[in-house]
């Protein structure tokens, strides 16, 4: 069937991808639904189109390309770094716009030079957008979860709180709520009566005794100790929770965190500002900052115009497989996001890869780009 709704610039875009020395891949439109739901969570279920095979397997119409491309990489080419390009239709229920639309993008899997690969992903995305929208000023927003992780670790928060904050990174509302909780000495954890009883018996201070008690209780109540959370899991988390409940962040540390999260400045000024911030606040975050610097240098080397890029410290995605860089590209003065990307070093292992495979990529919203081209043409 001829794809008559394919954007007019699709051919030029594919030519760009070829010049960028990527391997063009296609994936079946009908995909097993499990990996998508597993990675993105149940919330996705309402937005994808699901069906079932005759044997009861959950299937869906491809909602995006990253997961299928990664699964294909794991099956066929693990170990060899490879840059893939794709262009095709995806299917998602959206508040506005059609629920079938085109996406294209590049996934760069397995390149150990992460600063260089990050810079190349941003540079490539800027390049292909600039080619579609000549004369338009692009606007790139860049965030980096690894800097945030380094800052909260350096603030000396216990592990449980670090995990909570990292998990909320990118979700402004949730993050602010957690910071509020950390600052408010009135808020404390809720503990059941059983925990109080155990505390009086002194069982809580001794992990082995607590584990034994939990195992006995599970045995007695008919709960198998090996299919869900084990007695050891529960004992450890209980300890972590008691730490969570008693941790208060002093005003100074909270101010440091809020100051960090408020950073929103041109990328060219970000390295100096972050170093000055770390020095002033006495935070040891040298590792994360030197990587940040390396990426800024690599971006300059890749020829990306630094004046178009802003660093926003609070910018992230609340999905657990994003680990470092995230970025978005639009046109100056317009709200539409035309390209989005980031580093997802954890995804391939979650999808079943045996070894660690670093990964970075971006995708382009072709329908929005088409509208942006039309708007630019109309304005002339």
């Amino acid at each position: 069937m001829p794809l008559i709704n394919l954007p007019a610039f699709a051919g030029d875009l594919l030519a760009d991808f070829e010049r960028l020395k990527t391997l063009r891949v296609d994936t079946p439109v009908i995909q097993p639904a499990e990996p998508f739901l597993d990675m993105a969570g149940e919330d996705l279920r309402r937005r994808i189109f699901m069906t079932e095979s005759e044997t009861g397997e959950s299937l869906c119409l491809r909602p995006e390309f990253t997961i299928p491309v990664c699964l294909r990489h794991i099956e066929t080419a693990t170990g060899t770094p490879q840059r893939y390009a794709y262009l095709g239709e995806v299917f998602r229920q959206r508040r506005e716009g059609s629920s079938e639309f085109y996406q294209a993008g590049i996934e760069d899997l397995g390149d150990a030079d992460t600063a260089g690969a990050d810079a190349r992903a941003i540079g490539d995305a800027m390049q292909v957008l600039a080619n579609r929208l000549p004369g338009q000023r692009l606007k790139v927003t860049l965030g980096d979860q690894s800097v945030f992780e380094a800052v909260i670790a350096a603030c000396g928060l216990p592990g449980g709180w670090q995990k909570r904050l990292i998990h909320a990174f990118g979700d402004q509302k949730q993050l602010q709520r957690l910071l509020g909780e950390l600052a408010d000495p009135k808020a404390s954890g809720v503990f059941g009566p059983e925990v109080e009883r155990l505390a009086k018996m002194g069982v809580l201070d001794d992990e082995e005794r607590l584990v034994a008690h939990l195992a006995e209780t599970m045995e007695a109540t008919g709960y198998s100790t090996n299919v869900s959370r084990s007695p050891r899991d529960i004992a450890r988390r209980l300890k972590e929770k008691m730490e969570l409940a008693t941790t208060r962040l002093d005003k100074a540390a909270l101010a440091v965190m809020r100051e960090f999260l408020a950073f929103d400045l041109p990328l060219s000024e970000a390295p100096a500002a972050l170093h000055a911030f770390a020095k002033k606040s006495k935070l040891k975050i040298d590792g994360a900052l030197s990587f940040f610097d390396a990426r800024v240098a690599a971006l300059a080397e890749a020829g990306a115009d630094p004046d178009l890029i802003r660093y926003r410290a609070a910018f992230g995605r609340p999905l657990d497989y994003y680990t470092g860089l995230v970025f978005e590209i639009g046109i100056e003065g317009a709200p539409a996001v035309l390209a989005g990307g980031g580093r997802f070093d954890r995804l391939l292992t979650l999808l079943g890869a045996r070894e660690h495979i670093p990964a970075v990529g971006f995708s382009l919203w072709l329908d929005r780009i088409e509208r942006a081209i039309a708007a630019a043409g109309g304005a002339k």
Binding site: E42, G192, L198, L214, T221, S228, R229, R237, K241
Partner: protein
């Protein structure tokens, strides 16, 4: 225009609903014999009654196939997307009380709030190789509560159409979202409700489909005010 009211076709719900309508001056009589699934209201010629199962009632009111229905709020909110825009909860009827709750094994001493559960869910994949599994028949309510109200994304729903309370002990799920009225089944299965884990306090409601044709229809207003006066 004939107004159709859908009522539960059997059990306590049917009797309780009939009793309220009787007190409201709307005595319901079956058309034909007692087993008939059609009825009428004595003295209300422009009203007819359809006896349906409780979950069908929420669907029919949601699609506007009937004008009114008596059914549990849980079924309406679970069965209809954006329920408040499509139906009006015209009266809460004071029977069929039950709460939709999040319950976890009692032995999870470290989990008493949704925030605790969020921590556990975030870590689950790393330590168990799979997401936290929730057994429930309430897909929509679970998603709204976990994702919308508590920012918890990382879990999987395992559909359970009966004996949901047994799922954690049998190992087919880690926790449950289910309906409970006295809590005794939860207790018997060694489950506890999280302190902020009540998703919905449900009861039987008179639910009206929001339809343009209802505007200014005196029978619609009369039905609602009669039922409200009987409570």
């Amino acid at each position: 225009m004939t107004i159709t009211i859908a009522l539960p076709s059997k059990g306590r719900m049917k009797d309780d609903a009939s009793a309220i309508f009787e007190r409201a001056g709307m005595r319901i009589v079956a058309v034909g014999n007692d087993r008939s699934y059609r009825g009428r209201v004595e003295g209300w010629d422009d009203v007819e009654v359809a006896f349906l199962s409780a979950s069908e009632i929420s669907r029919e009111v949601g699609s506007g196939a009937v004008d009114f229905g008596v059914t549990g709020e849980d079924l309406v909110r679970e069965g209809i997307a954006d329920a408040d825009a499509r139906v009006e909860f015209a009266a809460r009827l004071g029977f069929g009380h039950a709460d939709v709750v999040v319950a976890v094994p009692e032995v999870w001493y470290d989990v008493d709030t949704m925030a605790d559960l969020g921590d556990v869910a975030a870590d689950f994949r790393a330590s168990h190789g799979r997401r936290l599994a929730i057994a429930t028949k309430y897909w929509r309510l679970t998603q709204q509560f976990f994702s919308g109200s508590h920012g918890i994304q990382l879990y999987r729903i395992v559909e359970s159409l009966g004996a949901t309370e047994g799922a954690p002990a049998s190992g087919s799920a880690d926790i449950i979202v289910d309906i409970t009225s006295t809590g005794s089944t939860l207790k018997a299965n060694h489950l506890k409700i999280l302190s902020d884990g009540v998703i919905l306090r449900s009861e039987a409601c008179l639910v009206r489909a929001r339809m343009a044709a209802h505007e200014g229809n005196p029978t619609i207003d009369r039905i609602i005010s009669s039922v409200r006066a009987a409570l």
